[in-house]
């Protein structure tokens, strides 16, 4: 209502200003973030790459992240199927047989696909033959958010989740071209016929919009863990928590273990870490 009109006018005015100041903002924020992003340490949340005017976020803010401990998945590859199934059920993810139209939130892939920048030579059998989970990295400096022309995808300031607003997405697929991790899927047709079983508490999507993992924002609001984390409960295969909180469980794991991120060279600062 009023709120919306005021916001629109504000944005229209700010657009001109932001257009001029955007390069400076991007520059400032990226240098500070790279400095602290080294060695898998948490970057201050101030570096969110949305130069559109959200730059004032507190460095002490929450930044949710994930550590995926492959040692658990090597032992039990069925565990990964359970995690994927939990996600599919929670979010009404359609199961489309044609790989060209697939919708994927969390899915299985090989080490070489997940980490193409790492050497693939003489890898152990274990790594070569195991399936790895891939999902949205909820980057601290997401290139999809930069690309989106309508702010249909954006960083939630409260927790650092890269979220989607399906109501606003125009389906231009610029975010899909921008994502260096192939984490985004487009609804090439009505997804409903491909959903086996509905979760009555979550919507489906319509054709013509882009979707991806949302770190279970709707479950977190109810005090629940993300569906995939819950599916792996007790194994420690997926640790979920606040990367900016030095006392969190996830930070303890990151302090003790050697972890890697996908394509750090892309400068997006992923929030998902892997113990390989």
């Amino acid at each position: 209502m009023d709120n919306k009109r005021r916001k629109f006018l504000k944005m229209a005015g700010a657009t001109v200003l932001a257009g001029i100041s955007a390069p400076a903002l991007v520059k400032l924020s990226s240098t500070s973030a790279v400095a602290s992003g080294e060695g898998g340490q948490a970057a201050p949340a101030a570096s969110h790459g949305n130069a559109g005017g959200h730059g004032e976020e507190q460095p002490s803010g929450v930044r949710l992240g994930m550590v995926i401990d492959m040692r658990q998945f090597y032992q039990d590859q069925g565990l990964l199927d359970e995690a994927i199934a939990a996600c599919v059920k929670a979010h009404n993810v359609p199961q489309i047989p044609d790989p060209k139209s697939e919708i994927k939130w969390i899915w299985k892939t090989g080490f070489g696909n997940l980490f193409p920048e790492h050497s693939q030579k003489l890898r152990s059998e274990k790594i070569k033959n195991s399936q790895f989970p891939a999902l949205c990295n909820h980057c601290d400096n997401p290139s999809c958010v930069k690309a989106c022309p309508t702010k249909a995808t954006f960083v939630v300031e409260k927790n650092g989740i890269v979220a989607m607003d399906f109501h606003r997405c125009i389906g231009c697929r610029f975010c899909m071209a921008a994502c260096p991790y192939g984490a985004r899927s487009f609804n090439w047709q009505d997804p409903r016929p491909f959903i086996k079983e509905y979760n009555a508490d979550f919507p489906t999507r319509m054709r013509g919009v882009v979707e991806k993992c949302n770190f279970c924002g709707e479950r977190l609001a109810l005090g629940l863990e993300p569906a995939c984390v819950e599916a792996c409960k007790g194994t420690g295969a997926i640790v979920f928590g606040d990367l900016n909180d030095s006392h969190s469980e996830i930070r303890k794991v990151l302090d003790q273990e050697f972890t890697i991120q996908r394509k750090p060279s892309a400068g997006t600062m992923p929030s998902v870490f892997y113990i390989v």
Partner: protein
């Protein structure tokens, strides 16, 4: 004025055309829709009925922005019961029959909101379960 006759008759035809729905129906807007009240017997909504009738669409938009964008997932309490903000998870808990509630007015007003392209109605749920 040049072409007076042409212009006037053109204008008359235009006015007749754009008012077609009005006079075609004999100046009668048809019977008013009677949306079904919640089958569960709930009497109270998040706002008075008149306000809801007027501006439920704005309220839904505000809820959407609150939940998705502003991380404001504060629940709403109606009649002692707590609800999360949302069409599917709040409104339709009471107004569980979309066809007899939402559609009656929407059809009458000839609007086709796209809400249910994504949000699942109980009918849609039942249809899927039957499969």
């Amino acid at each position: 004025m040049y072409n007076k006759g042409l212009i006037v008759s053109g204008l008359v035809i235009f006015v007749l055309l754009v008012t077609f729905p009005i006079w075609f129906n004999g100046l009668d807007a048809g019977p008013l829709p009677k949306p079904e009240l919640p089958p569960g017997g709930e009497k109270e909504c998040v706002a008075p009925a008149a306000e809801m009738r007027d501006s439920h669409m704005q309220l839904l938009n505000e809820w959407r922005d609150d939940v998705l964008r502003n991380s404001d997932r504060v629940t709403v309490t109606v009649g002692g019961k707590e609800y999360q903000k949302g069409l599917q998870i709040a409104c339709m808990q009471c107004h569980s029959n979309k066809e007899k509630f939402c559609d009656t007015c929407h059809e009458y007003a000839a609007v086709s909101p796209t809400c249910w392209d994504c949000h699942i109605t109980p009918t849609e749920l039942a249809k899927k379960e039957a499969q």
